[in-house]
């Protein structure tokens, strides 16, 4: 688009007192031949906004507002999607944080303004992506248990069409095996209601059910997912907009618990076996079909145990309380012992604990040392913490192991891959064990035709859950959400609620994608990466590094971007050595030009220059906070916000150094196990890439100290001035960039 740039310099909030505004206002015309430059006491006022609107009416279509942070007055300075608005921060990051009427402060403001103008010049209004294919607004739900059926029904109630695929012949999932449920309000047992629910699903005109079916293949992306479903030997194709995986859980394998008697004594059963027995009609001793007068439930059988499942399976306390209730109902004289570590009945479920106590069940806090048999009955020996003594409970008819939940996606064996040459830990066949978290190893359910593996990547313990506390539905595959116990162990009440939320996210993904917009966390963003394929060298970095698996590959290793899968973080743009990936309003040349716009003083002026590439989500607001708190830092640093540190292309570092910039600092989010990067691994990738730069620098006889990566959280703003000043000291020590003035 042909640009007409207008520059608007605000004097409000102390900016006018801090800077020589007249001088600053001369810059756009002198350096960029921009003749529309206005100054106002406060552009955020109606009069100020009207000034800008008048210019827009007269042809200005790129508005550079040099005033406060873009974090404020976003609504005031919104002139429609077809206008480019660039906000130059002169308030928080200049006037409020640097010495007034100072040469260095003025130079900082000038550089900020230059960068803003250059950026506005390089930006184009985004045009939303629209594939040529027809878009589908249907949902696919994989798994027809409680969570899957709930998701399907709730989406259908909101007017969406749903395809439900269940591997068994009958809908219902695990609840088909259950006699009753314990759910809100946790006063008494309630019927599972699962058959009614299955009937409701089958009768719902918006839901198409495939039972005894599985998903053979999924290709495409949100609104363009093409499915192959096989059912009774025939293959059906369908197209959907988004996907919910609700494939549930499997009980922990009790065969791994021989120390608790499983497999050794017939009358040691799991809670699942107990449930089936109860559902069938009568709880008996499996050994001889005899009466159960005394039962003992061993809680955390495998769970909360580093040898088995280190996590808590969340439901087993309630399940045992429920099952003790069955026994009480069958035989009021029967006694149930519940041997527990901690009784975990959270929220209103505490009421059911009380009910089980009122029923006269006996609770023992302690541990099991041995399970054995004596004269046809079982005994459990252990320690009672609250009695402070060893115990041996004899005459038990049935021992029930409260085994925990394993996500259905978790492979039984630890996956192995071919070990790299000489890698330690490889077995005799040259294979090495790996964490099963990449999407390649999970048990097959979705069969995604994705470059980065056929299944959802998982967290520790195999749950494809979100790592984000604030955004619990975020998986690493766009438009694919998980619901219920596949996500984390949860009781049925929570699984139902969880499924409603997942349906919401799946619907939202469809709505946004239909409008050509990104989903979380850049929801509504209409830019998307475009690839200049003629220059691609098939290096595969973009296809490998995309945190969301959005880019496929053809046989020749050409990247095949799937824009509806894209989250617009720009990690591919940062990865590409050929710099062929660009967004309309964010690109490698754009940031390169901004760096080039910085005026670098001559060496003898003693004014070093540092470029700080900072995460716009966390580091940038932190810097604003430091400004709001009137903290101060070196005026020699020029801050450039980036979508994610993962989008930082190393050429920017080369650009900076070749321009005579003395140092570069990257400020990004915490990475590692508890990463905070909103794009999963952007900050980590930046760090890795940067470590490679250090070698290059040394080869160029440049000190690797000139480049630094620092993790910073949004709340760490009080540390920022220290971090920055510390880096400036390092730069002073290493001295001026020898390439200055070249």
């Amino acid at each position: 688009m042909s640009k007409k740039v207008g520059v608007y310099i605000c004097k409000g909030c102390g900016i006018g007192d801090s800077l020589d505004i007249e001088k600053l206002a001369g810059l756009p015309e002198e350096e960029y031949s921009i003749d529309t430059v206005k100054i106002h006491e406060a552009f955020c006022t109606k009069e100020g906004v009207d000034l800008i609107k008048d210019d827009i009416a007269n042809g200005v279509n790129a508005v550079v507002i040099a005033a406060c942070s873009p974090r404020v007055n976003y609504d005031v300075f919104d002139f429609g999607v077809d206008k480019i608005v660039e906000r130059v921060n002169l308030r928080e990051q200049v006037a409020w944080s640097h010495a007034p009427k100072d040469e260095d402060t003025q130079m900082l403001a000038e550089d900020n303004l230059r960068m803003g103008i250059v950026k506005a010049n390089a930006s184009e209004p985004p045009v939303p992506f629209k594939a040529e294919e027809d878009y589908s607004g249907k949902l696919l739900v994989v798994g027809g248990g409680l969570a899957g059926m709930t998701a399907a029904l709730e989406a259908a109630k909101a007017g969406y069409e749903v395809i439900l695929v269940e591997k068994e012949a009958k809908l219902g999932g695990f609840l088909n095996k259950c006699k009753q449920r314990v759910t809100f309000p946790y006063k008494e047992l309630t019927p599972t209601g699962i058959e009614d629910m299955a009937a409701e699903v089958s009768a719902n005109p918006n839901i198409k059910v495939y039972t005894s079916a599985k998903v053979d293949e999924i290709s495409g992306g949100p609104c363009l997912f093409n499915l192959k479903i096989s059912q009774n030997g025939t293959q059906i194709t369908e197209k959907v907009g988004s996907i919910i995986q609700a494939t549930g859980w499997v009980p922990y394998d009790a065969k791994k618990l021989p120390h608790l008697g499983y497999g050794r004594f017939k009358d040691v059963v799991t809670n699942v076996e107990f449930e089936e027995m109860a559902k069938e009609g009568k709880i008996r001793r499996p050994s001889d079909g005899g009466e159960v007068k005394t039962a003992l439930f061993i809680q955390c059988a495998g769970s909360r145990d580093p040898e088995h499942l280190p996590y808590c399976s969340s439901v087993c306390c309630l399940v045992s309380l429920k099952q003790a209730t069955y026994l009480k109902e069958q035989d009021p004289e029967a006694v149930s012992y519940i041997l527990y570590k901690d009784m975990r009945t959270i929220a209103q479920a505490e009421d059911f604990y009380r009910k089980a106590q009122r029923d006269g069940n006996i609770f023992i806090r302690g541990s099991v040392e041995a399970v054995g048999d004596e004269g046809g009955k079982l005994y459990v020996a252990g320690y009672d913490e609250l009695l402070g003594e060893k115990i041996k409970i004899e005459g038990i008819d049935l021992v029930v192991l409260a085994v925990g939940m394993v996500p259905a996606s978790k492979p039984e064996a630890v996956p192995k891959i071919k070990a790299p040459e000489g890698a330690p830990g490889a077995d005799s066949e040259g294979m090495i064990e790996v964490a099963a978290d990449s999407g390649f190893f999970a048990n097959r359910t979705l069969n995604l035709l994705y470059r980065q593996g056929p299944e959802l990547p998982t967290l520790r313990y195999g749950f494809p859950d979100s790592h984000f506390i604030c955004f619990p539905y975020e998986t690493r595959r766009t438009g694919i959400y998980t619901a219920g116990c596949i996500r984390r162990p949860m009781e049925s009440y929570q699984a139902e609620e969880d499924a409603v939320g997942a349906a919401m996210k799946a619907i939202q993904c469809i709505e946004l994608t239909m409008r050509g917009m990104a989903v979380h966390p850049r929801a509504g963003d209409m830019s998307y990466p475009e690839f200049f394929m003629q220059r691609c060298t098939q290096c595969k970095r973009c296809t490998e590094e995309c945190p969301f698996g959005a880019i496929n590959e053809d046989e020749k290793a050409n990247p095949l971007p799937q824009p509806t899968r894209c989250r617009r973080c720009g990690v591919c743009m940062g990865a590409c050595p050929e710099r062929i990936i660009s967004f309309k309003n964010y690109s490698v040349p754009m940031i390169g030009d901004m760096i080039k716009a910085i005026h670098v003083p001559e060496e003898d002026e003693g004014k070093p220059r540092v470029v700080a590439l900072i995460c716009e989500n966390d580091a940038y607001p932190a810097l604003d906070m430091a400004g709001i708190k009137r903290m101060s830092w070196s005026p020699y640093i020029r801050f450039i916000p980036v979508r994610c540190l993962g989008s930082v292309n190393l050429v920017w570092i080369a650009d900076s150094l070749s321009r005579g910039i003395d140092g570069i600092i990257l400020l990004g989010c915490r990475h590692g196990d508890d990463y905070q990067c909103h794009f999963i691994k952007g900050s980590e990738l930046a760090n890795v890439r940067l470590s490679k730069v250090a070698e290059t620098l040394q080869r160029l006889a440049l000190e690797s100290d000139r480049v630094r990566y620092v993790e910073i959280g949004i709340a760490d703003y009080h540390k920022l001035p220290g971090i920055l000043d510390d880096f400036m000291k390092v730069i002073e020590n290493v001295g001026p960039n020898p390439y200055k003035g070249w």
Partner: protein, 421 residues
Amino acid sequence: MGDGKITQTILVVGGGISGLTAALEAAEAGHEVIIVEKNPYLGGKVTQLYQYFPKLCPPNCGLEINFKRIRSNPRIRFFTMAQLAGVSGSPGDFEVQIKISPRYVNERCTCCGECAKVCETEIPNPFNFGLDKIKAAYLPHEFAFPMRYVIDPSIVGTEEGKRVAEACSYGAIDLGMKEETLTLKAGTIIWAAGWEPYEASKIEYYGFGVYPNVINNIMMERLASPVGPTGGKILRPSDKKEAKRVAFVQCAGSRDENHLAYCSSICCLASLKQANYLMETSPEAAATIFFIDIRAMDRLEDFYTMIKANDRIRFIKSKIAMITEDEATHDLLVEGENTQTGEQVRERFDLVVLATGMAPNKVPEWLLPYVGLDEYGFVINNGSNKGVFGAGCVRRPSDVATSVQDSTAAALKAIQTIVRR
């Protein structure tokens, strides 16, 4: 999507993490949303937390993303210092009254801070539970969204008030503002009014409100925050001495039929997390957690395992029966029974943190025809809701992830109400 022509607004009451989430999820799916928040800022309780468990990450990180989502979404409007004051009509066609308290600062505020410079009166800082003071012309906290000052009513009508108003060069201070009530139309309502810590002074034998060094867990969050009233040093209120020996008293009110019969779900993890805050303040600091059961559900167990491995954090299974103060030192004597050894516990601490539970904010009488409550006052979402749905901690005591999950679900329930007609 059915017809794509939805014009009915979703009203979300409460702008905490639950309300924000419900509003954003609905708005990003294409619906019009209005948020009503009683505080002068959005974000609710989580803005006051130092870190989230188990990642020990700052709440502002996720809030900033959510505020960014609001900024970039014209479908969301919000009112701060506002409360729902009345509802009439039926699902799909509610008429709601929204009462807005005067902020005395209008949208012209640029947040320059000149008003605070001339203001001399100080008030107990509500954001820090009165643990420090703030000027009567103030920004509620540095991350406040919207970023706009507030004038405390105490200086309205005074000479000082006039001086403060005159200090503003943008005409942003309007001391003549009055409470006003708006009437709006809404198709459905999400009640996400959140919770308050259980009023610990009701547990008389713990001395909260009597002994200065007995605090609740939410106050502890402010003490631990590097930008809180003590600059992140855990200083006890009586003498600003650094607290080295700290007791965490679990189930302070929760799981107690004399107070809250239910379990508040989050207090175990909150105390584990806060014990960790303490560990970071000094190598000599030591924490004792007095508990009945440690309820670290699902993968949160990992966090418990990590905290248990710290030998400066002790776990004693005991419900505390009595806290008394040594009048001379303001130290606290904590008494209980170590139920695992049978020994009586009588220990001295610098500071006691009561793990107070969650009490849901009360649903007004006039809303009850539209939504049911359980015996504890939590909102029930089932088939009987009449266009009004609960979201987050008004439904059950829950942590942030669960609240967000629940609020996402509530958004869909609300949408179903307005698309069906």
